[in-house]
């Protein structure tokens, strides 16, 4: 992947600076032009810790100027997310309360729309937006492994082993998605559609990287994972039915049917064995778990509303 197209003064100056590493990087503008400029800049800075860019030296991941910008953007993002969070609804943490909280979520449903109403063009647009996440799928949660107490650590790896294909590269979830995209004639390389990623898509991905990359936010990372898994089984079935209705290829349909069964397991593991034991063994993380879970649903609701708005739908 090469650096995406800049979307404002900050991303333009930042990408220029990243290309100049390991030469001395020039000072950068302090502020982004708008949400898209900020979100794209942070997405690129986080990406340096995943796979990087062909036109950026690997040194850039730890360049102090780049890290300074990253930290500023992360603080702003975290504050925005915290300002939206109404707080721990229960005090402490209980897995059944978390699962009930996710079940009670009545945010707008993209999967119901895809299942029954969406056009092929709208569905392709959704797949391109989702590809920003699905092509790295389990990676943001993997950062948290060394930061957990022993029981939560074992449980997270048990879940992640399945995400990463149970040892079979062909079943690795992000690879399943890539093959489905490819079979549909879509681009399947990481970041392929980053230039059309909406600010909501970028923010959703940035939040996961933020939670994953900061040990302080380990509870939020696992709470996000639990809410994500618990809001996946039924929607994945609807996605599969919608894709079948619209004549999408079997591999792409298969990606979603795989998630029906996998996430019925993962939601139990994440809510109980990961978050449940984390809250017991590291009680200071209970609020973080709820913050992450709320943020997951909130980001999805904001993303869904933005897509319905683009499509002029009254959902």
């Amino acid at each position: 992947m090469i650096l995406p197209k800049p979307r404002g003064e900050l991303s333009a100056a930042l990408f220029e600076a990243l290309r100049s590493v390991p030469e001395r990087t020039p000072p950068l503008p302090q502020f982004a032009d708008d949400a898209a400029d900020a979100a794209l800049s942070l997405w690129v800075l986080h990406e340096l810790s995943y796979r990087g860019f062909e036109d950026v030296d690997d040194e850039a991941e730890w360049d102090l100027v780049a890290l300074g910008v990253r930290r500023t953007l992360e603080r702003e993002l975290e504050q925005r997310l915290r300002d939206r969070w109404p707080g721990n609804p229960a005090g402490g943490y209980d897995p059944d309360e978390l699962l009930a909280f996710v079940e009670a979520d009545d945010g707008p449903s993209l999967s119901s729309y895809i299942q029954k109403k969406a056009t092929r063009e709208e569905t392709l647009e959704l797949l391109r937006q989702r590809s920003v996440y699905h092509l790295k799928e389990a990676d943001p949660s993997a950062w948290t492994v060394p930061r957990l107490p022993v029981r939560a650590q074992a449980a997270l790896v048990e879940l992640q082993f399945d995400e990463y294909g149970d040892g079979d590269p062909n079943r690795l979830h992000s690879h399943l998605f890539a093959r489905g995209l490819d079979a549909e004639g879509l681009r399947s390389e990481r970041g392929a559609y980053i230039d059309e990623a909406t600010p909501e898509t970028l923010e959703m991905n940035n939040a996961m990287s933020l939670f994953g990359l900061h040990r302080r936010l380990r509870g939020a990372a696992m709470g996000h994972l639990a809410a994500f898994e618990a809001s996946s089984s039924l929607p994945s079935r609807k996605m599969a039915q919608g894709l079948e209705r619209l004549g999408f290829n079997d591999q792409l349909v298969g990606y979603y049917t795989e998630h029906v069964e996998a996430d019925a397991v993962h939601e139990q593991l994440a809510a109980r064995d990961i978050c449940g034991t984390l809250a017991e063994d590291d009680p200071g993380q209970a609020d973080g778990i709820w913050f992450g879970a709320f943020t997951c649903l909130d980001l999805e609701a904001r993303f869904a509303r933005s897509m319905f708005e683009r499509w002029g739908s009254q959902e």
């Binding site: 022993v150 082993f161 149970d166 039924l234 029906v260 069964e261 019925a264 397991v265 139990q268 593991l269």
Partner: protein, 70 residues
């Protein structure tokens, strides 16, 4: 001093209101006698009998009223 603890790690776990998790199964026989291959380390088997992918859980229990859940 008790040292690092020995943790419970059961092979079969009944989830309140949800599926039963089974660890380390390679095959599962459903109520019709058909045998299904299991490829994941933990599998969730349906307990509400309403799953569209029996014998596996597909999350359908969440659509049932509280009293009708396992």
């Amino acid at each position: 001093m008790s040292g690092p603890p020995q943790h419970d790690h059961p092979d079969v776990v009944l989830c309140p209101g949800g599926p039963v998790l089974v660890r380390g199964a390679h095959t599962v026989q459903d109520a019709d006698g058909q045998v299904h291959e299991v490829r994941r380390p933990v599998v969730a088997l349906c307990r509400c009998a309403k799953s569209a992918r029996l014998p596996f859980c597909d999350g359908t229990h969440k659509l049932l009223p509280e009293g009708a859940r396992p």
